[in-house]
């Protein structure tokens, strides 16, 4: 635990919500793939100077050049994650992500070549190298693997509801080699059974860690209640059962459905020249065959709306109380206007001098109070979060519901606060962009959940958000809408505070 919190030096404190403010249009990439093929498209909005190009196979290449430091970050983003997972596949996008950096065919060829050069015939025969090396015609020369370990890269991957990503950061002279490394991991995974069985245990260890955190139970309860018919679609980690029983065949299934160029994006940021990156991308990824649009054959589910409000108390061994009220929010592609309004509204009520913060924080009722919308292609949740001491929980909830009843009062926020919210969102992006190796993932997140056209127009559309837009958002998604209220509190504190499930839904 780091004790030294240089809070403004950890820019995250200034940037938090943007990462969750994104969404996706189902067929956006597919619709424009051929039309936009081989045409470099300059960014309209000068604020985020990325350029894109869609290859003939549908792979979208996104480049954000910035030579502030001699680094490059290369990311592959895939529209995969729990939103594609029925219960029997829940958690397997995540398991696939773990397998990404394991063995692949290029590595197998490399090992066979090495075995041959050292006359290690046992290995050569045991690994069926005669067959492996035949793949050279397709994969190409793999001698670059001699160099990869010397590059000194940092790599990782993440899995979320609507987005899976893989990335390398290294110094910019290594751009071509790291792109090749990414290509071979993406196109030629081996899914070796022994490695796979071992990695299942590692993922189970990761689930153990998640389930050791009290906050996990708050989050899962809220999501499971909000998305009651298809909870697996909002649970990227999945379950121990599905992970334990996973097979390499299921990995191949995921690969064939989702790991196609027209469902993926290559994002390159840093000390690079876009035209050179586009050329490298064409040379390396041009052979990747376009597949079926996975969202045509396997459409995303329709989450049914809540029919009534429900309160749930989750007892864990905690000292404070954390309460979250959740609603179904807007979806990209269905109500984009409300997604912009949602972000602006969240930034109005988070301003410390806003009426909301004064009522909840300056009053001493809570130490944290915020409204957050998580932009998603398939129903982004809206959450109001309160953190306080247990003895203040009831009073804080009472005030919260009174405040929420006023959200559409014309005097609830000032014109200045409306303008400031937009400035804060823009400033946040500026600070975030400074950490380009991480901002790369924001671009991937935007691409996956919203498509880049949405992001191109994002700040322009934020600027256009009016009071009427916010009123429509609040009326359409929050006020008088069924919702779920969850409290994370210890059993003794709950009893002492007399906190009830009815309190959590404002009854």
């Amino acid at each position: 635990m780091k004790k030294f919190l240089l809070s403004s030096f950890l820019i995250t404190s200034v940037l938090t919500n943007l990462n969750f403010a994104q969404t996706a249009k189902p067929n956006q990439a597919a619709a424009k793939d051929t039309a936009a093929a081989a045409q470099s498209k300059p960014q309209d909005d000068v604020k985020v100077p990325f350029v894109t190009k869609t290859l003939p196979n549908g792979l979208e290449v996104i480049v954000l050049p910035d030579a502030s430091v001699p680094l490059v970050t290369v990311e592959m983003a895939v529209r995969n994650g729990s939103f594609t997972e029925p219960p029997e596949l829940n958690g397997l996008s995540h398991l696939y992500e773990h397998m990404f950096f394991k063995s692949n065919q290029a590595l197998a060829i490399f090992r066979c070549d090495l075995a041959k050069s050292y006359n290690n015939f046992n290995y050569y025969m045991g690994q069926n190298c005669a067959e492996q090396v035949k793949l050279k015609a397709q994969i190409g020369d793999v001698s670059y693997l001699n160099e990869v370990d010397k590059l000194g890269y940092v790599r990782n991957g993440t899995t979320q509801e609507e987005y899976v990503n893989y990335y390398f950061s290294t110094t910019s002279p290594n751009t071509a080699t790291i792109l090749r490394t990414m290509r071979d991991a993406m196109l030629y995974p081996s899914f070796e059974r022994e490695e796979f069985e071992r990695e299942i245990q590692v993922v189970l260890g990761e689930l153990d860690r998640q389930q050791a955190e009290p906050g996990y139970y708050l989050d899962r309860t809220l999501m499971d209640k909000l998305f009651y018919k298809y909870p697996s679609r909002k649970s990227p980690g999945g379950t121990r059962e599905t992970v334990s029983s996973a097979t390499t065949e299921k990995m191949r299934l995921i690969q064939s459905r989702y790991y196609v160029p027209n469902n993926s994006a290559l994002i390159v940021t840093g000390d690079v020249q876009p035209e050179k990156v586009f050329k490298l991308a064409e040379d390396l990824f041009g052979i990747w065959k376009k597949g079926e649009d996975p969202f045509v054959k396997f459409p995303i589910v329709e989450h049914p709306p809540l029919t009534k409000s429900e309160g749930v108390i989750v007892n864990q061994d905690v000292e404070n109380v954390i309460m979250q009220i959740g609603w179904h929010g807007p979806s990209i592609g269905k109500d984009d206007a409300s997604t912009y309004a949602a972000d602006v509204f969240s930034y109005i009520v988070q301003q410390p001098d806003s009426r909301f913060q004064r009522a909840m924080i300056d009053s001493g009722l809570a130490v944290q109070a915020n409204v957050h919308y998580y932009t998603q292609r398939n129903v982004g949740p809206i959450r109001v979060t309160l953190v306080t001491a247990p003895d203040k929980a009831k009073a804080a909830l009472d005030t919260l519901y009174k405040e929420m009843a006023q959200f559409n009062n014309p005097n609830y926020f000032t014109d200045e606060e409306l303008a400031n919210a937009k400035t804060l969102l823009e400033a946040e992006d500026l600070y975030r962009r400074e950490k380009l190796s991480e901002y790369t993932h924001s671009l991937g997140f935007w691409w996956s959940s919203t498509g880049m056209d949405y992001y191109r127009g994002y700040y322009k559309n934020l600027r256009a958000v009016s009071r009427d837009d916010i009123k429509k958002y609040v009326s359409g998604y929050i006020q008088a809408k069924p919702h779920v209220g969850v409290a994370l509190i210890s059993a003794p504190a709950q009893a002492a505070a007399k906190l009830t499930e009815q309190d959590l839904i404002g009854k």
């Binding site: 990227p236 001098d353 001493g364 500026l430």
Partner: protein, 447 residues
């Protein structure tokens, strides 16, 4: 590999601007020197050491006014006072009430915040280049004339207390609490920078005022600024703002080493799905010549424990080996595992191997490149550069040492790695949160 990104609450200090007129200054002793790479300038304003790094075309500016001493400045009774004083100070100044400050920061997207750690504290500023001048005025007024109103104090204290109440809830943070209690016993670091519920609960606003007043001596302050700023212009601004502060005669006292005379094992029993384990050992500080060899050694150890515990034997999702950056420094091995004994046994064997054998050439493959990459990753933001320059200046023998980091890493030999492994990776003190029955004293205390 981690998955779902965590949602962090946003805590932002909004502050206000009014007019600050400090147009004349006297008694200024300003000497300027420029670093070999010409981008860094150092000067002195009436005893206040200032480091300015110019990053042409950077759209943002970061600055930090650092206070020397850290927890050495506090006692068990008033632990947490610097954290609370700096946090409260950033809420408002006498001239600029918090409502106005909050609006100004919402209008500009700037932020100011305060906090304290083991070795130093800081009030930090982040702004766009365009809004820097106004933000600077606010920053200086907050530092020189904080309001310390009862309401600001109450809110900042409640935030701190809420965090303290929560500090053992997560298994990882619970492990940290146990670690601090065991490792820092009878050491100045035992007075936690955030204090305790009792010590913070007993602090009065007058205590904060007095503490803050004593901080404002140029001999105990350091100012670091990074952005596209002209150093001469900045020097004038600093002179106008801080030129009249008293010098004082603060002398930094060395912090004693942490006790690693013998291996220990402490367990907090908790029913959770896995066991959280950390083994802590001594490490050289940033100012120590051994620092660079130890950084290389820990990087190699990290690679080895990951390979042995996770890749080969799938015992854990999260095995690691890391090194801290405190003046009284430590390093550690860490793992979460059901089979804690086997995991730790493997890790200790790797440590044993590093102490007995020279790292072969292929063990160094990628090390220079890795440090080069991570060095630049750590240089991406202005705020990270401020923190790096300050850390070297305050506890690393001077900011110029930061410029030779990569050269010193490249000079590290296999023999150096073995030497520091033998010197530091011993008498490991383990802390565990989880099932006591899963922990064998024989295995854990074998080192």
């Amino acid at each position: 590999m981690k998955k779902v990104r965590s949602q962090k609450s946003e805590v932002r200090k909004f502050i206000i601007l009014t007019f600050v007129i400090l147009s004349f200054v006297f008694g200024i002793n300003a000497q300027t020197s420029v670093s070999p790479d010409k981008s860094i300038t150092e000067f002195d304003v009436n005893g206040l050491k200032v480091i300015v790094k110019r990053r042409p075309s950077s759209p943002t500016v970061s600055a930090g006014l650092f206070t020397r001493g850290g927890v050495k400045n506090q006692t068990a009774k008033n632990a947490g006072i610097e954290t609370l004083a700096l946090a409260t100070a950033t809420e408002a100044s006498v001239k600029y009430p918090r409502e106005v400050l909050r609006k100004e920061f919402a209008r500009t997207g700037s932020a100011i915040s305060g906090g304290a750690g083991y070795d130093f504290g800081v009030i930090s500023l982040t702004s766009t280049r365009q809004n820097f001048d106004k933000t600077w005025e606010i920053f200086t007024d907050i530092i020189l004339n904080p309001a310390f109103t009862p309401q600001d104090f109450a809110l900042a204290r409640e935030r701190l207390l809420t965090g303290l109440r929560n500090q053992s809830v997560s298994p990882d943070s619970s492990l940290g609490v146990l670690q601090d209690k065991v490792i820092y016993a009878n050491h100045p670091y035992s007075n936690d920078p955030n204090g305790t519920i009792e010590s913070v609960g007993n602090l009065k606003i007058e205590d904060l005022r007095l503490y803050h007043k004593n901080l404002l001596q140029t001999s105990r302050l350091l100012l670091v600024i990074v952005g596209d700023l002209d150093p001469q212009t900045v020097q004038k601004q600093i002179t106008a703002s801080f030129g009249r502060l008293p010098r004082g005669d603060y002398k930094e006292q060395p912090v004693p080493r942490i006790n690693f005379a013998q291996p220990t094992l402490d367990v907090t029993s908790r029913t959770i799905p896995t066991n959280y384990v950390k083994g802590i050992f001594a490490a050289p500080s940033l100012a120590d010549p051994d620092y660079y060899a130890m950084r290389v050694a820990m990087t190699i150890l990290q690679s080895r424990v990951y390979n042995e515990v996770r890749t080969k034997r799938n015992l854990s999702y999260a095995p690691s080996a890391e090194m801290e950056n405190n003046a009284a420094n430590t390093a550690n091995i860490y793992v979460t595992a059901n089979d804690a004994n086997q995991s730790i046994n493997l890790m200790l064997k790797e440590i044993g191997s590093m102490k007995s054998d020279l790292i072969e050439d292929d063990g160094f493959t990628g090390v220079p490149g890795y440090f080069l990459t991570t060095y630049y990753i750590n240089q991406e933001t202005n705020s990270a550069q401020v923190a790096e320059l300050a850390r070297y200046e305050l506890i690393g023998g001077g900011w110029r040492n930061s410029l030779s980091f990569l050269d010193k890493i490249r000079e590290v030999t296999a023999k150096d790695v073995r030497t520091v492994s033998q010197k530091y990776m011993k008498n490991i003190r383990f802390v565990v949160v989880g099932d006591p029955a899963a922990v064998s004293r024989e295995i854990f205390l074998q080192n």
